[in-house]
């Protein structure tokens, strides 16, 4: 159910870029957009994101599958704004009891929903096309991240799919020992909580042993580390970041020119 493997078609031109470059490009692209509340800039950004998707080797169906929780979030934002908007200027569209939906409210809500999609998609694209090991390597080699932390985090991240397996084992162990909850919802909740706790305890024990195993192989022994897998940051990687900045800037510029730009604060 939880999938952490990259899904990109191997060899896609942008998926092959340095992971740090992809990360930086996505961050820059997203956070330029967070500055505005209008719907135009994010709409342009989403169009750009969908257009470059094939270059990352991600199929549209895959993106849709990974992005569906976003739609739930978008719904939540819409409802909140309809109920609690402070500024209810503009022509009234719907009036039902305390709910007063005006055009102003709808435009703000639309802007927010588009913005959330525009901001979130780059993250999905980066993680869908990047292997965790490569990311850790690149963070160490190209972004000067502390190696001990990057590798410790990577080693722990490997436990994600194992946790699911472990959950099944714990449930089976309990069943074998005569522990189950039947149909009683309270008993079910208690069993759920105690299984989750057992999972956490198991994860910590595993982590403790993992740390010992890492020490046993000379991790953190003071010797300077070498790297077996070289990650290079090339001109093309720099261009990716520049391109992302330029595109996001252009989206903002269009919004300013059209007069729809609304800064986040002010």
């Amino acid at each position: 159910m939880i999938n952490v493997e990259p899904v990109a078609v191997p060899g896609a031109p942008l998926a092959r870029r340095n992971p740090v470059a992809k990360l930086a490009a996505a961050l820059v692209f997203s956070f330029i957009l967070i500055a505005t509340l209008d719907p135009v800039a994010p709409a342009i950004a989403i169009a750009v994101e969908l257009a470059v998707l094939p270059l990352f080797g991600v199929r549209y169906g895959v993106l849709a599958r990974r992005a569906w929780p976003l739609l739930a979030s978008a719904g939540g934002i819409l409802v909140t704004l309809v109920l609690f908007a402070a500024d209810r200027s503009g022509p009234v569209l719907v009036e039902a009891g305390p709910v007063l939906v005006t055009q102003g409210v709808l435009v703000t809500a639309l802007g927010l929903v588009l913005r959330m999609l525009a901001v979130a998609l780059p993250g999905i694209i980066v993680f869908a096309t990047t292997d965790a090991t490569d990311l850790a390597d690149a963070l160490i080699q190209n972004a000067k991240a502390p190696a001990r932390f990057a590798i410790g985090a990577l080693a722990a991240f490997r436990l994600v799919p194992l946790l699911e397996q472990e959950w099944r084992m714990i449930s089976m162990a309990r069943r074998a020992r005569g522990v189950d909850a039947g149909r009683n919802p309270v008993a079910r909740l208690r069993l759920f909580v105690s299984t989750a706790f057992a999972l956490l305890v198991g994860a910590i024990r595993r982590g403790t042993r993992l740390a010992v195993a890492m020490d046993a192989r000379g991790f953190d022994a003071g010797t300077p580390r070498t790297v077996a897998r070289r990650q290079r940051f090339t001109a093309a990687d720099g261009l990716l970041i520049l391109g992302a900045t330029a595109l996001a800037g252009a989206a903002l510029a269009v919004s300013v020119v059209l007069g729809t730009f609304r800064p986040l604060i002010g």
């Binding site: 409802v79 909140t80 908007a85 595993r206």
Partner: protein, 192 residues
């Protein structure tokens, strides 16, 4: 003292493991938050908010090193992004922000005490940071009186209870299982 503040391998790995575990929990919690929990409209739903902030306090209480709160919550946020949460990417900024607020509490006490009051303070600060970020970035244009203030207060309270009290209780329960035997949190158990 210096040496005491250096992270051992086990500190890094366990903080990361807690991050991974809570990353998965965040991922599941996000589905709940935007699914069944939608039945409780905002700002009321903020009573559930504390769960997002648990790793900041728990990480610090278990590992007891400078940066533990910051690292654990930040990594948990990154893991949940990698798994695909509904807020996607933006958590990459929000996570560290809340985490830094929680970290501040432990820093104020020079990383010397990890008792209940400090944990509660850390949780509350993290909750405030999180909800203030939310109202500006996610709920701009909402009214202060009917939405923003209740939202911020409820979040802080939820964080105090769930992340503060909850983390202290969870740390104690974990120590009782013997899983934390290599950490100061477990130092006071009787030998067998």
């Amino acid at each position: 003292m210096d040496n005491n503040n250096r992270w051992r391998t086990i500190d890094i790995v366990i903080a990361s493991v807690l991050g991974v575990a809570f990353g998965v929990i965040f991922w599941a919690w996000g589905l709940l938050w935007n699914g069944p929990a939608d039945a409780i409209p905002l700002p009321g739903r903020a009573v559930l908010y504390g769960v997002w902030l648990v790793p900041a306090v728990l990480g610090a209480l278990v590992v007891r090193k400078p940066g533990a709160a910051f690292y654990t919550l930040t990594f948990a946020a990154l893991v949940s992004v990698a798994l695909g949460t509904s807020w996607g990417w933006t958590i990459v900024v929000q996570g560290p922000l809340e985490a830094a607020a929680g970290e501040l509490a432990f820093a104020l006490f020079a990383y010397r005490t990890y008792r209940l009051p400090v944990a509660l303070l850390a949780a509350t600060l993290a909750g405030l940071a999180a909800s203030i970020y939310d109202v500006f970035v996610w709920y701009p244009g909402t009214a202060w009186g009917s939405f923003r203030l209740p939202y911020i207060l409820l979040t802080a309270a939820s964080s105090l209870v769930v992340a503060g009290l909850g983390s202290v209780a969870l740390t104690r329960a974990l120590a009782n299982t013997g899983a934390l035997d290599r950490f100061p949190a477990a130092r006071d158990r009787a030998p067998i």
